[in-house]
């Protein structure tokens, strides 16, 4: 097995072009598990920890360009107010040791349906910056997940960064697991209000072959809020709206029975999480005194 240690993004891309079968490794929180358990013997590992460009975040207009290997700990410490939904999801990842090493780039590379940040990326219209020696592709998160642990990257591409809109609008994330730490999500929901677009983003994780947006739920709630003038003059939401939203999020799922939970439980829990995250986000929106004041 080759061990490739590029010290710049250009070197890393050249290496990936030469050896497209090389497996990128950053925090190692997924890749090393597979190596330790002999589930994978790649012909080469491509260590991204020495590529400084990947471990930086910058403000680019109204977006944060988040380098692929910026750790969850740094997202929580440095970006909590500008990327509230992502920081919430980051706080639920693993343990301090895992959050010190794991990154959104790793979540995207592994493309597990249970990855904690995926629903947030979907609900907030994040865009993945994929790079290769051939150039740069901007891939919307909604087009990135192709199947269980399959993503839209070409063999010679690396994830350079993720672009997320900076917002002060409420965002929420919630996941179900057997304890408050070190759990792979049984299911998860992310919600983002986009008042400037008169729209709601909602997505679910760990309850379908890929993370996915709950499109019908988004459309229902966006229409409901728009038709009743709630963006400019928000009022408490009718219980019937919250309930219907929960049902539609659950209907977007395609869960299976597995060791972490049954399909029926996941559907039930998704509706609960959807109602909760909507309640929390809408309370925040009401408190912020949007619109008429």
């Amino acid at each position: 097995m080759d061990f490739l240690s590029p010290t710049s993004l250009a070197e890393a891309l050249a290496a990936k072009a030469r050896q497209p079968e090389a497996v990128p490794i950053a925090g190692g929180t997924d890749v090393m598990v597979e190596l330790n358990f002999d589930q994978r013997r790649p012909s080469a590992l491509l260590d991204l920890n020495r590529v400084a460009e990947l471990s930086e975040w910058t403000v680019a207009g109204e977006h944060i360009r988040l380098g692929a290997t910026v750790s969850y700990t740094r997202i929580i410490d440095e970006l909590g107010t500008r990327l509230p939904g992502l920081a919430m999801a980051a706080r639920t990842v693993g343990s301090p040791q895992i959050r010190n090493r794991g990154s959104v780039g790793g979540n995207l590379g592994a493309a597990s349906p249970a990855g904690d940040t995926h629903p947030v990326l979907l609900a907030t219209d994040a865009v993945v910056e994929a790079v290769s020696v051939r150039g740069t592709r901007m891939i919307p998160a909604s087009e990135f997940y192709l199947g269980v642990k399959r993503n839209a990257l070409a063999a010679d591409e690396l994830i350079a960064a993720v672009h997320l809109p900076i917002t002060s609008a409420p965002q929420q994330f919630a996941k179900v697991g057997t304890r408050n730490a070190m759990v792979i999500a049984v299911c998860s929901v992310a919600l983002a209000l986009h008042p400037e677009q008169g729209r709601v983003g909602a997505a679910l994780g760990s309850a379908a072959p890929t993370p996915r947006r709950a499109l019908a739920a988004e459309a229902f709630l966006s229409a409901e809020l728009g038709d009743t003038g709630q963006w400019s003059a928000p009022r408490p939401l009718p219980g019937s709206v919250v309930t219907r939203f929960g049902e539609l999020v659950a209907q977007a799922a395609e869960p299976i029975d597995d060791v972490r939970g049954s399909a029926a439980y996941r559907r039930h829990a998704l509706a609960v999480l959807a109602r909760r995250t909507l309640d929390w986000a809408w309370q925040d929106y009401l408190r912020a005194g949007h619109g008429g004041e």
């Binding site: 097995m1 080759d2 061990f3 240690s5 490794i25 925090g27 190692g28 929180t29 890749v31 090393m32 598990v33 190596l35 330790n36 358990f37 790649p42 590992l45 260590d47 920890n49 693993g94 343990s95 301090p96 040791q97 895992i98 010190n100 090493r101 408050n180 730490a181 070190m182």
Partner: protein, 170 residues
């Protein structure tokens, strides 16, 4: 591909030959460098018993590839004591009886050490959060919490739980 890995462990330059670069830092420490403090249990980052510092950052050594440790600084539980004098966290574990079978202890000591570097007088929720990645199957954790509280009170006798760190002992 078999490589030579140079790594600074507890302040000493170490060199290991014939390393398979996909093996873990944990394997490197235990089997090649003779440092068995960090324990090998789950090999998937779930149990925290292999917790060490890598360039000052708390990590699970089982999830770091040996090749990634090349040229880095590692500090293990063996590097916490100052000669014969235990680190305050270690001393507090001894005094409170926070050790039963002892397997999880090195990882918990390093994780608690990291917490007290960041927060002088952590609250109980902060201690629980900081140790959430370290499993103990014997103690029920109560005495471990007690040990961390004791170590914190000795490191910063004036502070009260919940107060922000004041920049000492970074």
């Amino acid at each position: 591909m078999i490589v030579r890995v140079n790594v600074t462990v507890n302040g000493e330059q170490c060199q290991a030959d014939d390393v398979w670069p996909g093996e873990s830092l944990l394997y490197l420490l235990r089997e090649r460098l003779g440092l068995p403090g960090a324990k090998n249990a789950c090999e998937q980052g779930e149990c925290g018993s292999c917790t060490v510092y890598l360039d000052g950052v708390l990590v699970c050594a089982c999830l770091v590839a040996a090749g990634q440790a090349q040229g880095r600084q590692v500090r293990t539980v063996e590097g916490l004591a100052d000669g014969a004098e235990l680190d305050p966290v270690q001393q507090a574990f001894v005094e409170t009886g926070a050790v039963q079978c002892g397997f999880c202890t090195p990882g918990l000591v390093v994780a608690a050490h990291d917490l007290l570097n960041r927060v002088d007088r952590p609250t109980d929720p902060e201690i629980r959060e900081a140790l959430a990645g370290n499993l103990c199957r014997c103690t029920g954790y109560e005495k471990i919490l007690e040990a961390v509280r004791l170590a914190a009170s000795r490191r910063n006798p004036g502070g009260r739980p919940g107060e922000a760190a004041e920049g000492e002992s970074r």
